[in-house]
């Protein structure tokens, strides 16, 4: 992509109201989650049973949870955890998907057939069942959760990259490069992968949203991020038990997850339109 085309894509992105608003919102939220705990210095772990399940007040703007922990501090910590897990899981899945898709598409043959069969087989197992099986084995801590979510969500990316690699491999400039004696890995890295940038950026953006949803579902089931570390998912698990006395606790984390994922989806759709004017 030339600098000019990139400028064009950026221009097309910021002209769309919803994706643009989503981008601003996401930047603001990420900043809040990173800088928030420096401003709002109450510990998300400090319990205070006497002041449990309080309504919002100046000391506790979002009230307190069932152990008297400050809900705002927990929302901020939960946000850090959820966003970091979401982002890292997406990176894992993109790297795996790129590797499988590009290698299978470029080299073909038996290895390619096996790789794509495995991809199909993994797509046939409903994601959460696969993840539960993996959590059973590897246990639940932030690192394994990231790797497990990444390792069970690369298949769609692999298929897209597989298709694109096949398509670009057949083009004349790639064949010309090979005729001039360029090595396979060089052609792949220099000529084919750069063509897939648009697909990768779009998949990555949508992937963060999906990974955040998966993490929150897993933590809600009690098999994700383990307490006392807060994540938006496990906060909802606790909140469901106190739904009658403190319904608001069940509202905050859910609203934030929905808004973040929605923003990533809008941004992803917007990026697709901006980066690929053919669609």
């Amino acid at each position: 992509m030339t600098p000019r085309a990139r400028h064009g894509a950026w221009y097309r992105l910021v002209r769309q109201p919803l994706p643009c608003a989503s981008l601003v919102l996401l930047v603001a939220l990420h900043l809040a989650v990173v800088l928030g705990p420096r401003v709002w210095t109450i510990s998300p772990q400090a319990t205070d049973p006497i002041n449990a399940l309080l309504d919002p007040s100046p000391e506790h703007p979002l009230g307190t949870d069932e152990l008297g922990r400050d809900e705002l501090a927990r929302m901020l910590q939960g946000g850090q955890v959820s966003l970091v897990v979401g982002f890292c899981a997406m990176l894992t899945s993109i790297v795996l998907g790129l590797l499988v898709g590009a290698l299978a598409g470029f080299y073909g043959g038996v290895a390619s057939a096996i790789l794509m069969r495995v991809t199909d087989a993994m797509l046939a197992i409903p994601g959460l069942f696969l993840i539960l099986a993996a959590v059973t084995v590897f246990g639940a801590n932030p690192v394994t959760i990231i790797l497990i979510i990444g390792a069970t969500s690369w298949m769609a990316v692999a298929r897209v990259i597989f298709g694109e690699t096949l398509r670009w491999k057949a083009t004349e400039f790639v064949q010309a490069a090979q005729a001039l004696g360029a090595s396979g890995p060089y052609v792949l890295a220099r000529h084919i992968l750069p063509q897939t940038t648009a697909s990768v950026v779009v998949s990555a953006t949508l992937g963060v949203g999906i990974a955040i949803l998966t993490e929150s579902a897993l933590s809600y089931l009690g098999l994700g991020i383990q307490p006392p570390t807060a994540s938006w998912g496990n906060m909802l698990q606790n909140a469901q038990q106190y739904m009658f006395t403190a319904p608001a606790l069940a509202v905050y984390p859910g609203v934030v997850v929905t808004v973040v994922v929605l923003a990533y989806n809008f941004l992803g759709d917007g990026l697709r339109d901006a980066l690929d004017p053919r669609l």
Partner: protein, 301 residues
């Protein structure tokens, strides 16, 4: 396909550090541990155990649950009908509601109806299903007290269809968020593509009414890709069942999987994964058959 799925799960689970033998509790003596290991055949190498398991599986024996000592197949059999009922209803709801919504959206492209439906379906894709469930419980069970919040039926009460249906309403709605938005989006784009074709313009030009063109010519052709996406939605629905069942205390496969994961019940985990994959593969086969039936140009590969 099933072979690959079962092999992946089996080897992953058995080769991992702290494999099945780690399940033994701390209070067992080394001799007991030895005896248990031999009883479950864990002293054999993994490939041998896989072949033994495979031989059993072909005869309908998926092994014994480590936590309850019941056959894995029995435990799955207890729960499977509940999940099939729930997923089947959610799929039906998604198709029956989603296709008309997609058509409406396509026919009013760029109008408020289209924007509303498109935004709603994106919202449906973004909302965590379990939180949507919690909010429904909060509204209809806690505040309004119209619907029961969990289970398949009121405990202790006699069987009544009304009671069963009331217990089904919210889980079905929540689970259908895993499929409905995709059906709407897909129907919309398939309809738009077909409506742009030359033969639609020809049909309109020769004076056929809008209704005949839309439903007689366009819809039939648009439905072909929609059917293929419905096949792809089955794994999503079954996966979504895990969360939905957890929220509503629904005794199905999803809760069984969570229990198995918490109890580190390896044979059960493998059994569940294989049964679920078998169901998914079976439905995708059915979808392929439906596909060739609707569009005779496609031959089964």
């Amino acid at each position: 396909m099933l072979l690959i799925v079962s092999a992946i799960t089996f080897f992953m689970i058995n080769l991992a550090p702290g494999g099945p033998s780690a399940l033994m509790r701390f209070d067992v003596t080394p001799e007991q541990r030895e005896a248990l290991t031999r009883r479950f055949g864990l002293d054999q190498p993994v490939p041998v155990r896989y072949l033994q398991w495979l031989a059993g599986a072909l005869h309908g024996d998926l092994g014994t649950s480590l936590t309850t000592q019941q056959p894995v197949l029995d435990r799955i059999g207890e729960r499977l009908p509940n999940t099939l009922l729930l997923s089947g209803l959610a799929l039906t709801l998604s198709i029956v509601v989603g296709i008309p919504m997609g058509i409406a959206s396509a026919l009013r492209r760029g109008k408020p109806t289209d924007y509303t439906l498109s935004t709603l379906s994106l919202l449906g894709l973004s909302i965590p299903a379990f939180w949507f469930g919690i909010m429904l419980i909060l509204t209809f069970s806690v505040t309004l007290q119209w619907l029961p919040s969990s289970g398949v039926a009121t405990t202790g009460a006699d069987f009544s269809l009304k009671d069963r249906l009331q217990h089904l309403i919210m889980p079905t709605i929540v689970l259908s968020t895993a499929a409905l938005p995709t059906v709407v989006r897909f129907t919309r784009s398939a309809m738009l593509e077909v409506l742009g074709q030359d033969y639609i313009r020809t049909a309109t030009a020769k004076g056929l009414s809008r209704t005949v063109v839309t439903y007689g010519h366009a819809l039939r052709n648009a439905l072909v890709p929609v059917i293929s996406v419905i096949g792809a939605l089955v794994p999503r629905l079954v996966g979504g069942a895990v969360v939905t069942e957890a929220v509503f205390g629904w005794p199905g496969m999803g809760r069984l999987a969570v229990e198995a994961a918490n109890g580190r019940d390896y044979p059960l985990v493998v059994g569940i994964t294989v049964v679920i994959a078998a169901i998914v593969i079976l439905t995708s086969l059915l979808v392929d058959l439906a596909y060739t039936w609707i569009d005779p140009r496609i031959r089964l590969a």
